[in-house]
Structures are given as structure tokens and as C-alpha cells.
Amino acid sequence: MLDLTPEEWTAVRLSLRIALWATVAALPFGIAVAWVLARKSFWGKALLDGLVHLPLVLPPVVTGYLLLISFGRRGPIGAFLADNFGIVFSFRWTGAALACGVMGFPLLVRAIRLSIEAVDRRLEDAAATLGANRLWTFLTITLPIALPGVIAGMVLCFAKALGEFGATITFVSNIPGETQTISAAIYTFTQVPGGDEAAMRLVIVAIVIALVALVISEWLARRAGARAYGLE
């Protein structure tokens, strides 16, 4: 039925790896920014909010180009990371993960922020009177209660990362085995004569992955929700 060639399998595995890393690496930053936006008021908050949402409204190619000139080998951040830590993003799968993480970030932050805002602050006060400092209050009360939203945000980020095309291809190009994700591979197949069959196989794989991710996230969110509201 689905007889994928080794190259196609490589694209599928690479897509999953990139999307997973993008989501996992973005998560701590996403939680921190969501908490700041949900619970703090400070000068420049609107600006931070705008910056976070920028990848959502900018053309992906623009985001990819900005990444290229800042995180590329000759970009200021890219050169610094390469020289001091040996971390290279340009034309590597890590760069694809970075681009996907940036593109998924607004969706991640938005979902987590909403769920943190929904946590009753009076519970946080109660935790404080019981001896919990701010960090412990966040880790033991706020975050567990907001968990369904965190999961939802991760799924959105993962989905965005799986489907990301424009920023990735601009930043790290379309190199089979290194940066060629499912989306990029499908695009490539549609550009060559006789590539329709291979494109269709990858389309089916993409649909299956998306459905499985949705079902798993729904199940996780339901479980976490039941726990958070004490109805388990």
C-alpha cells in the first residue's frame, strides 16, 4: 500500500525530528513568555506581545530571511554561536528546527498564556500563605492547572512545525537528508515530471501524522483537564 522509498522515509523521519525538537526547545521559552504576558504588567509589554506574534503575521519568507541574516554563518548571532559553542544552524536540520520553532512560537505562547490567565489567582495566594514562594507556586499550582492549555499549545506548535515551508526553505534550503521535510519533498516532487505518485504517498503520510497527533493531544488534554478540575 504505502511503499515509501528510502528517500521518502528520510523526509518523514526528518520532519518528525525537526517538529519534535522545535516544540520541545520552544516550550521553556514559551512558558516563560506566556507567564510574563499573563501575570506581569510592565512598560513595553505590548511590544513584547507584538514581537511574539510577528511570525504569525509576517510572510514566512520574511521570517526565514531574517533568520538567515541573523543566524546564518555570517549573521551576528550565527557567527557567535558557531565560534563559541560550535552550534551551526545554516543548512542543517537544527536550522530547520529553529525556523519551525520560531514559526510555531506565537501559537504556543497564545495557548499557554490563555490557560495561565484562566488559573484562579486566589489559589496562588492560598499557596503563598502555605509557605510556597513564587517559583514553587508556579510549578506546583499554576502550571499543573494550566496543563491542558500547555498541551494544546504544544500540539499547535508541533503541527505548525510539521507544515512549515516558507521560512524553512528560505533559511536552510531544501537539502535531501538534511533539511528536506515532508512539505519540501512534496513540493520537489510536484516540480518534476512523474513525481505525482511520490507526492501523493507523502500527502497521505502527512494526513496520518496530523490525525494521530490530534487524537493523542485530545486524549492528553482531556486527561489533564479532568485532573486539573479534580474530577478524575
Binding site: 489559589l123 503563598a128 500563605t129
Partner: protein, 222 residues
């Protein structure tokens, strides 16, 4: 000995309250909106007064002239809220132990057994708060505040959200608490009958001011 002398502006309304008490159960008694909850919130550190001083025995918890403001989590002041505020994602047992965990206290099985018995908590230790009745929730909230080993217990209208039957169920526990827990209590209420049963001294608060300090004779005659 608890001494409170604070001022807090809330919009057009100002709470300016001064009293001292060394009694086992002090009632802050007065009509709704008189500022009672504001006063206990400043004692717990959840609301910062504009100026004044709050001290518990020799420890200054707040002093605006010397810029002292101990964070709520360092005050060792237990707080039972009107709506319980149990943590919904934790079991009753985890709720009870929360304060001990956060304060890094060693486990004390005899104290746990005493408080569990005092408040009859044993039947629902494994349940989650969502599966408790209003009265059971308040008993857990009281137990949770006691198990953190507070130096002072604040009870802010703990019966206000309960119907008459539930109130009658909890009142005996509160009386036992006053006589057996060994922790001084500040009991906020606008209900004469409750205060008459629980309190040993009364601070009457009206329109953000202390109207009178004294014994149960300050309460209106039924």
C-alpha cells in the same frame, strides 16, 4: 500577642484599623464591606498596607517606617478562605500536606492523626476537592492551614458560603479547634451567633474603623 495598626486606601474607601489582641479567638465583627477581609489580608501579607505596622509577638511582619514587609510565604500565618480555595488538581491528602512540603517541615504522624481526627478528615483523604461537599471542603481547608504549623490562624468567614445545616456541622469543629489546637485564631464574621460561639474577644469594625474592642458583650443582643 497580635498588634495591628494599618491604613489602606481602596478607591474612595479607607481602612484605618488599630487593635491589639492576645486572646485565643479574636473575632473581627462587623457588617459586610466594613474592611474586615482587608485587615486579615494585610496580616497574611496578601495585601500591602499604605502605612502602619503589624507584629506577631516579637516579630514585625510589616512596618512602613522601617520598610519591613515579610513575604506572605515567610509569615507562618495560616489562612482559611471563605471559599476554601483547595487545590483542585491535588487530592485531599496532598492538599493537607502542601504547607508542610513547601515549608520543608518533617513529617509528624501524631500531629497528622490529631488533626485528621479533630476535623474527621479520614473518610475522604484520597478524594479530590471536586468530589467534596461545601462543609467537607472547609474542614479540609482548616486542616490544611493547621498542618503547616501556623503561629496564627486567620479564618475569613469560613461558614459564609454554607447553608444553615452545613454551618451547624462545622461550628463544633471550630469550637474544638479553639480549645485544642493551641493556635491563636482571628475569626472574621458578620454573624452574631457564630461569633458568640467561637470568639473569646471581639474587635468591632465599622466603615473601615475600629468601633470598639472588648468581650462578647459588644455583640448585639439577639
Amino acid at each position: 500577642m497580635l498588634s495591628v495598626d494599618i491604613e489602606k486606601r481602596l478607591g474612595a474607601f479607607t481602612v484605618a484599623v488599630r487593635f491589639e489582641t492576645a486572646s485565643r479567638a479574636t473575632a473581627l465583627f462587623g457588617p459586610s464591606g466594613a474592611g474586615k477581609t482587608t485587615v486579615v489580608s494585610t496580616i497574611a501579607g496578601l495585601v500591602t498596607p499604605d502605612r502602619g505596622r503589624i507584629a506577631l509577638d516579637d516579630d514585625v511582619l510589616f512596618d512602613s517606617t522601617n520598610r519591613v514587609n515579610v513575604a506572605p510565604h515567610r509569615r507562618s500565618v495560616g489562612y482559611v478562605f471563605q471559599e476554601g480555595r483547595l487545590f483542585p488538581h491535588l487530592t485531599v491528602r496532598q492538599n493537607l500536606h502542601y504547607g508542610r512540603w513547601m515549608r520543608g517541615l518533617a513529617r509528624d504522624p501524631s500531629e497528622e492523626a490529631r488533626i485528621t481526627a479533630l476535623l474527621d478528615l479520614a473518610p475522604f483523604l484520597a478524594r479530590r476537592p471536586g468530589r467534596l461537599s461545601g462543609g467537607e471542603r472547609q474542614r479540609v481547608a482548616i486542616g490544611r492551614a493547621l498542618l503547616m504549623r501556623p503561629r496564627l490562624l486567620l479564618l475569613d468567614e469560613p461558614l459564609a458560603s454554607l447553608d444553615a445545616a452545613r454551618k451547624a456541622e462545622i461550628l463544633p469543629y471550630l469550637e474544638r479547634l479553639r480549645d485544642a489546637a493551641g493556635v491563636p485564631m482571628v475569626y472574621v464574621s458578620h454573624q452574631t451567633d457564630e461569633v458568640r460561639r467561637i470568639a473569646t474577644s471581639v474587635v468591632r469594625i465599622e466603615a473601615g474603623r475600629v468601633a470598639a474592642v472588648g468581650g462578647l458583650d459588644l455583640l448585639p443582643v439577639p
